[in-house]
Symmetry: C2
Subunit: 129 residues, 2 copies
């Protein structure tokens, strides 16, 4: 099995992810890290974001409008996606642990986890109307 080797690019990607309050896309990360490493490749950004997600050091959030967002906050929590601007935000809501069991009651299979995405209009988009 390949052993992990340090890279400054990966470190920079992870630092940006941890420092950002919103949930950047791969392109957002690329645009930002480029300021520090001007000739970093977009492929490197994708490779490392997926690697961090596999290692459990980042969460991948897939939204229906097609965008994939990344989150450096790794403890499980829920997200909100604005119908107007598409931005993804964190939600303060306790984790519903017992719901996996409830969902498994009438289901032939094993349920291990769940993800929930709330929809509506964010604060900024409310202002603009």
């Amino acid at each position: 099995m390949a052993t992990l080797k340090y890279s400054r690019q990966r470190e920079s990607i992870q630092e940006f992810l941890n420092a950002s309050c919103d949930h950047p896309t791969a392109d957002d990360v690329y645009m930002n890290v480029r300021q520090q490493y001007p000739n970093i490749s977009l492929g490197t950004v994708y490779r490392n974001l997926n690697l961090l997600a596999e290692l459990g050091e980042a969460i991948k959030i897939t939204t229906p409008n097609g965008g994939v967002h990344f989150d450096g906050r790794t403890e499980p929590h829920y997200h909100f996606c604005c119908n107007e601007c598409g931005n993804v935000l964190d939600l303060e809501l306790e984790q519903l642990n017992c719901i996996n069991e409830a969902a498994g009651k009438n289901f032939d299979g094993v349920i291990e986890s769940h993800e929930m995405l709330f929809y509506g209009t964010c604060k900024d988009c409310l202002k603009q109307n």
Copy 2:
């Protein structure tokens, strides 16, 4: 505003969607409807699936493994996505209506709806281990 005109291709797509118990992808629909209309275009399938979703006569389900599935059952319900095979199945679980309100408590914005996707291993994939 353009008025909707009947097309047999759209009818066939909708019929297949309503008759299928699983949740086909655009390509699944294409492969099936092609048996009835051998030279239907994949573009026609996409156009009509998106149209049906806009009209509220189908639900679009986006899964993290990248696949987009369609569901002819339009009343709100939850879904399960198998980590092994990627198939999407319906879940028998009452709708959590009060959760939108609970999520809105500490949130600056309006929450209108939510989607929940459960993960685990489906019956068929359990057998194979």
